[in-house]
Symmetry: C2
Subunit: 373 residues, 2 copies
Amino acid sequence: MPYQSFIPPRRTLMGPGPSDVYPNVLSALSRPTLGHLDPLFIQMMDELKALLQYAFQTSNPMTLAISAPGSAGMEACFVNLVEPGEKVIVCRNGVFGGRMLENVKRLGAEAVVVDSPWGRAVEVDKVAQAIKAHPDAKFLAFVHAETSTGALSDAKALCALAQAAGMLTIVDAVTSLGGVPVKVDEWGIDAIYSGSQKCLSCVPGLSPVSFSQKAVDKIKSRQTPVQSWFLDQSLVMGYWEGSGKRSYHHTAPVNALYALHEALVQLHNEGLEQSWLRHSQMHELLAGGLAKLGLELIVPEGERLPQLNTVRIPDGVDDGAVRARLLNDYNLEIGAGLGDLAGKAWRIGLMGYGARRENVTLCLAALAEVLGH
Amino acid sequence: MPYQSFIPPRRTLMGPGPSDVYPNVLSALSRPTLGHLDPLFIQMMDELKALLQYAFQTSNPMTLAISAPGSAGMEACFVNLVEPGEKVIVCRNGVFGGRMLENVKRLGAEAVVVDSPWGRAVEVDKVAQAIKAHPDAKFLAFVHAETSTGALSDAKALCALAQAAGMLTIVDAVTSLGGVPVKVDEWGIDAIYSGSQKCLSCVPGLSPVSFSQKAVDKIKSRQTPVQSWFLDQSLVMGYWEGSGKRSYHHTAPVNALYALHEALVQLHNEGLEQSWLRHSQMHELLAGGLAKLGLELIVPEGERLPQLNTVRIPDGVDDGAVRARLLNDYNLEIGAGLGDLAGKAWRIGLMGYGARRENVTLCLAALAEVLGH
């Protein structure tokens, strides 16, 4: 049986990620591979670190990209910071808060869950009560931008509560980074992870992370070794450290890091504020158009993520058939609902390079045709 | 401060990996990104699975690529199969056997270490004695091709010993897969992991793995959850399963999987036997040339990896200066020694696309010039 190269069609990616990838990021991917200890590659990594610090708005030296997707970034934050038996307050308003809980359980820590409704922001008052009720909790963990629902939570307020109580914060910024303000130093975030394939418009497979000095101190004072060798940040940093000899930990995903570098150069040269504004403007356009089609956003105004719009599927409309027609006839991908919203919602992403006028126009016009407007 | 794209030079990669990447693999990397649940992408993954089964010479249904480098593949094998308190016989004849030991310790299992000299194969007799002394051990773990030393161990004999004792085997094939025979079904290997960046000549970042039915049964009968959510293969398989609805686990590294598919198409179309032969022929050429330069291979004949040649650095020769001249003046990378061999050896890789005549000739001629022959 002969095998052939796989030649994918060009889709417009407007689901929950991967998002449309910048063409120059795809070009960067295919540049010649260097050795992972090559001095030129290490220079590139130093620059990549500076670019990640810019994206996260932080001066944390422990800022780098985990060599695996966002869910590994999540796990890296939990297994490095939290030790068995410690108490973590986990906010859950969608799938990814639930995944945080799973991480806490598997490492043998104790979780206190604060549930907020799906499609809504994390309820700050409820978190304040939980903090008061559990003064022995060491961590507050929450998802800034819930990819499963499109809700944006008030990271600044949540971090302020945690700080006042002497707790460390673990923040999921997979879908928020680059699309809405994320200010690690100003808000006092201690551990944060993101993904390459959302508003950074890089290919999937990497997870940018950053750890505050307090987080680093916590890691250094651990009584037990980190359960994962691959994700042990004290070892990983031996490779990412800017000064002196790099020590080998694992082989870095060289070409993927070229791509992330290129995506961050793009973000830097556009400017974070301009990127946030663009996402917001494209969201307004899309939301206006959806309303004209009689389609309703699930998340109330003020709690909406501009980069991820959760649309209620109208009664009598066949979810799968609509998405299949968009994909097959228009090469346009929108996302299905996830978890509690499966079959009830579509998720329309406007992330990074995907947040541009032609995408909004195509999506609205194609939806109108498919829905028979 | 303005940032620029990173434009790497074209190096000839003859270190311990990443190896020279096939040009068509680099092209495949930059093809348009599809959604990770796109039906066309899922078709590609089904084909990728069949190609991985070919490379591993197995019909194991649980054969896939972990979305992270080889060290995560190693960890996936240990944390899925081994439970806390279980006993594992770990063979150590270099850095990567030591890393296996680290994995066993961190998951709370008990390790029995069988040490063999660096630069030599794992001693089968010693392993037989350890198995006899520890009838309660459930696993035998060893490195088939030690990347730190260039020694090839007798995987077939080691697996036969384990099988006779009713033990499961965990095998590191990071550097062996594609370069020398690896026969998962014939030898009865239960869990095996490799890397994309060695003899497959794909970019670094993925770890092909395969699990036998006995391994799957062991995973299914676990008393405790797998400590890593990201690496939990019972969840990962929900996404890779060939039939029915794919369930979302994490976002697959779409473009990296295109590249792995392309590399495996290349391997399949060349044929495994031909690939093994080519590695062996190029090794003979290199070894003959090194001998003429008065350079000595550390590993004795019969235990040498054709794809990784460990050369003793002659007295009075400056290790770093030689490698820097090769890199800067010839764009040629060879590897430094690792662990016990740091400063004492060079590692010259002939892996995948790197195992070709022009590379051998360039390497020998450049070494001759730099060493002043």
